[in-house]
Amino acid sequence: MEEIVNVEGVSRRFSLDDGSPHHPAHSFVSALSDASLRVTAGEFLAISGPSGSGKTTLLNLIGCIDQPTSGRILVDGVDTSKLKPGSMATLRREKIGFVFQTFNLIPVFTAAENVEYPLLIQGVGSRERRSRVADALESVGLSARAQQRPDLLSGGERQRVAVARAIVHRPSLVLADEPTANLDTHNATQLIDLMHGLNRRLGLTFIFSTHDARLLEHTERIVRLCDGQVASDNSNEGGRRG
């Protein structure tokens, strides 16, 4: 299978040198340390670990919204460490879809307009946009709520809109950072099922982070992080398969 993500010995340190007398000069905290990971196209992968283990940092690095201190990351064969900010933005725009813990929908846009946004910034024509937005909303079961603004949607519905937004431009990779953290168990399970279904039907690669052990039962591959290092990388035989 084609390799979509290759994380090679990546470390990410954050400077604590804020001028405070409590932090000596050149002190750092290491969020990720020499982490390596390969993800092939079409995988449905969970990154788990306790809070502070480096899940979000790893997803940010894979998603090109942060730069590693050392090591390199290839996304769809492109070495992201060599990209300029403009090229990184292009890579994110064209190849990556994001689902955030707090949904992060644009509050003044309707559900349909939120889903349309990634197509808008790609310069897709209006007719094509309308068709793809309708398809995306239908695939998450929210066609009837297309014209509602986010504040009139439930938490589960908002996150499904966010998923539709993440897949509407047909990215190579969807990254979801704790997508179920603000959902109840029922909605969380439904969302994971939805993402899994999209993974199977559309062949989309999903990488999501969670510390909810119940959701891990639904995934096929689980990468566990601990203190910024990959502690284990296991296939979950009990996870759902197509």
């Binding site: 940010n60 998603g63 403009g86 707090t102 992060n104 846009f109 937004r165």
Partner: protein, 409 residues
Amino acid sequence: MAKFLLLAFRNIFRNRRRTLMTLFMVGGGVAGLLLAGGYFAFMTRGLRESTINNGLGHLQIFTADHFNRDEVRVLDTGIDNWRQVAATVKTGGHVRGVAPRIEFYGMVSNGEKSSVFMGSAVDPEAEKSLGFTSNVVTGRDLDSKPSGEVEALIGVGLAKSMNVKIGDGLTLLSMTSDGALNGVDVQIVGIVNSGVAEMDARSLRITLASAQRLLQSDRVTNIVVGLDATDNTDRVASELTPRLRSSSQQLALKKWIDLATYYKQVNTMFNGIFLFMGIIVFFMVLMSSVNTLLMSMFERTREIGTMLAMGTPGFWIVALFMLEATLLGLMGAIVGVVGGNLIGALINASGLHMPPPPGYTSSISFRVLHVPAQMIGSSLLVIVSLALASILPAIRASRLKIAEALSHV
């Protein structure tokens, strides 16, 4: 683009109270400028027309030597073939009429007291035909064909200082073209109040024929030309200039604006005040809007982070913030233009009067003109102020670190 515009428009109304405050501030600035500018425009237009109709006319013809003349023997440089020149001018388009004049100086005496006067000799019929008013407050205007005595109008201040009234006699002394001193007895038929105290303390008016007898000359110092509308001044001046070259004397044509020194000073002063007010409004809108837009950016940090994470180019974020500010400026300008015109209309309907300005004796009505150029200028001013105010927040927003912005609470 339409969606982008829609996003900017909706973003404006996220915090309605803040938007309303900004609209009031921007609109207030525009309305203030329009009211002040409209009042200044009313004042300058009124001053322009009163200056022209009080006898300056739209154009005046002099000899080329007039401006280097001897102040005592005023007719040395006068126009000798003035009837022919006047006839030539009258045939021009937009010319309502012409009025020959002699501007002269001399001494006036009542037998007990003497004073300097600034004399003006006119053809009363020609003056009336041009609509020039003598501002007679007591008595009557000059008769073009007086039966007996030489008639005179004198300023209210001069009449007071000479202690004379209607029907009293005065003696005028002035220098003839030959350099001799000549005198003429006049009878006061009217007292004039021009509204300018300095003028009224020296002014005296007699008929053209009387002045020519006094000065022993058939010449006039100038010919005043009245037009059908002030806006035609430049056009008529261009047409007349080549036609006046055929005269035996070298003549100079002056437009009213060249002669209206006081008008120009007032106009320059009003323009200066208006410019100063514009600068204040510009900085007021700029400074307060920077703060408002920075607050807006801060509140939307996570959302901007999300947009950047999805690959939105930085210049889109800059453009979005600038578009929001520009739209806000546009709406504020509309509020200001509508509000300013409404208030202006109310002021005009109220019939308010302002106290007399320094040097004037009569009050001035307080009216506001609706000047389209001022509406456009004031609107552009606040729109540009807001667009400039948005640059700093917009650039900051576009340069947010995405990972930090996404974790912003």
